[in-house]
Symmetry: D2
Subunit: 258 residues, 4 copies
């Protein structure tokens, strides 16, 4: 199996300086533990629970900042795209185009993204069985793009709660593409805080360790220097200072199961 | 309470003649039982399980056909919109703009639709608690549009299955807007047929009766002259011939609980 | 179909006087609306959340009181049994032996109960699919007892929550035996109040109406003169004063669907 | 943390020779990998799906065989008890009294078992939230017995399916008692095979690895020389020959996280 990789970054691009600083810190940490990094950050959180919540700098400014991160640090960058219009400008900058979970069945978006030849990371919808991702894979492969990543981010489990079914990793890996565990979204409590989604950062480490032990190709983590001050998804973001210890454990577990 | 209304039509616009014929049949049936009708049909099924499945005539042709239905028969028409670009042309023709379940939290789409002043019918995501629809309502009301309909179409229940929680009707009605039960999508088995979604048409009547008895303002049904020949969602569509009997029962139940 | 019947009574036998008074009130109410009554009350709540909660008078005293109710009022009586030792004394008094949901798969208890020839009411486990009740039915029929009632009381839906899947009624009725909807246990929030189970009495009416509209043979309701003072399951018990209005609606709905 | 221990044995006592042979093999394997063993086997499977399925030799004969295993091999033995009458004879022989999941809230059984002073292993009901096990713990501690083990065996997830929520391990361990992961029951598909429960043996290894990585004190595995020939739960039993490799991996993962 491939060595375990990391996709990490802040939930949202808060500003250029903070984004660069975060990416630099992440590179230092990943170099320290010997792990590859893809830097992720969103330019527009289009489905915040509340209409007044901070959404990010928008696509143009966001892609500019991500291009700068890429150029300055030489790290591959990933962001999520929400419509066909975003595909071309995003593919100019991004190494990985990410399809959000709720759009994972949208044929046109998948096809447009696939045709760019970029790596496509599809998050499995909370409403989808792992085996049903084969239809998603089929839509991308029909465009002769085999650069596919599948990401688990929890399944609906009653109301305002998600559960990670660890069987999904072997099920999706059997499709022949790398599978990533998104630990920070998996501990969200959707809508659970009334006017925003709650989160259970305290379970990120347990679930990440479990997922790596079950067998995954990468881990996806939203991080922040100071999660309490984060403009988005603070309750489930990992503190940068806690990351090195976590990654060391994950690497050690990964070495046993691969 | 308002008298029970019906939103009905084929899953997808198959062609002009079939669509007009279906709308005419529906009007005759609704007149017969004394029930108001909103005609629904989709012009593009953008998230079919398989990339090769029939998707419909596209927006331009689809809206042309719906405009014809509206003009010829004087019936209000509803269709679902998937992106901001579709809002303006759709609002030119449609009386009701429908937001699909998976997009129910997309702020920009909700806001763009709301600003047209049209009636907005939002389907509750399969991954959303009924009380969380208050945030969706808030996004529309922030645009000073109070023409809101909320539609229940089932909640994720394990894999490849949905369950209708009848508590969602009183929960959502307490928000002050009409609530509709989408009986035909609620009996879908998502992805359950391997390369397409399965359906359990046999439960449409039971669930519709139950929902009306729990208390709803309308029922949403996908219908077809011959569901076995439908180009989309045949397994959960109601046969037009079976509709009058069903509607009579629903009206009688509605009269008891309102 | 059979006319709709009622199984009702207090959650637990609090004392002789209160039990008789409740049964009398219920008979008056049922006579008033023209509905048959089976009186239910438990003599021992063996699985209260807390070890210090009130459990009831025990089997011997409880059966004595139920025998008195039966004799004084001529109403059939039902109670739940928890072990094989309870079967014989219970069958001496009770018209209906009820198997609690969590014991619904216990072969020995089902067989012992079945062999008495009494009516057996089995509550479907919160962890069981409706179609799996056919195996339960098979265990009883293997003892040549065809006096079977199957009761829906909600299915596990995430944590501390139950959902009533209205498809379960047609599924279980197709097995050829009467099906009852237990409305008051279906609105329990298991463990939801920390050291006791919470309840949502406000949904009893909505769910009962829905279940009757879907089609059931009977409704099961826990009632109390003053639910706030009930020694058990107050939060989900129906106030006796509210019962006549509810039953009238249920009867009217039942008349439409049968 | 405690070093990882194993609870293992056949689902049911098939006969004396096979039971002794299995226990011997397990001891050899556990000695080989340096892991403690508690031998488990059931004497009566009281809730088989079908009334005609093999249930075991009964309590008296079963306890005789387990006493023999204990005496011959010096291994602690565990079995599950289903009623208060079984507590005293079982406590004479068994080192660990196991409370089945469906009985985990039964106060009398918990209390009777607790009073023997034996170790009590309670399986969490498929219908229970992990935090609700604190009430179960409270019932045992009220009898001044602190020898408690809590076992996860999956939570209801839709119909005929279970999911293991790895958050349950830290939640239950925070109660201060050892927590065990029952890997073989967690991969059952309850009722999923029509007249018996299906199973997914292929996921035992993935889930065990994940649970150990999340952090548990022990793993519970049903094993068989030849699962295809097992008289009970073959579809989810682990082949003895596959066990040493699995245990080595689990030990290595455990060493990283403790």
């Amino acid at each position: 199996g491939r060595p375990l990789g990391l996709i990490a970054g802040p939930c949202v691009i808060e500003n250029e300086a903070a984004t660069l600083r975060c990416a630099e810190r992440l590179m230092t940490i990943c170099n320290g533990v010997g792990m590859s990094l893809v830097f992720k950050a969103s330019y527009d959180k289009a489905n915040r629970t509340s209409v007044t919540a901070f959404r990010g700098p928008g696509m143009t400014e966001g892609l500019r900042i991500l291009a700068k991160v890429k150029e300055a640090l030489g790290v591959p960058v990933l962001s999520d795209i929400h419509s066909i219009e975003q595909v071309a400008p995003a593919a100019d900058v991004l190494d990985v185009l990410q399809i959000p979970a709720f759009l994972c069945r949208q044929t046109d978006l998948l096809v447009a993204a696939a045709k760019t030849g970029r790596v496509i990371n599809v998050k499995k919808g909370q409403f989808l069985a792992p085996w049903d991702m084969k239809n998603v894979v089929g839509k991308i492969r029909a465009c002769e793009n085999e650069n596919i990543i599948l990401t688990e981010r929890g399944a609906s489990f009653g109301y305002n709660n998600l559960v990670v079914d660890m069987r999904s990793f072997p099920v999706m890996r059997a499709m022949g593409f790398p599978v990533v565990f998104d630990a920070t979204h998996s501990v969200q409590l959707p809508g659970g805080a009334g006017t925003s989604s709650g989160g259970q950062r305290e379970y990120v480490e347990y679930l990440s360790r479990a997922a790596v032990a079950a067998g995954v190709d990468g881990v996806f983590l939203e991080v922040h220097e100071d999660p309490e001050q984060a403009l988005c998804d603070g309750p489930n973001s990992v503190k940068l200072n806690d990351l090195p210890e976590l990654l060391k454990k994950l690497k050690a577990i990964d070495a046993i199961v691969k």
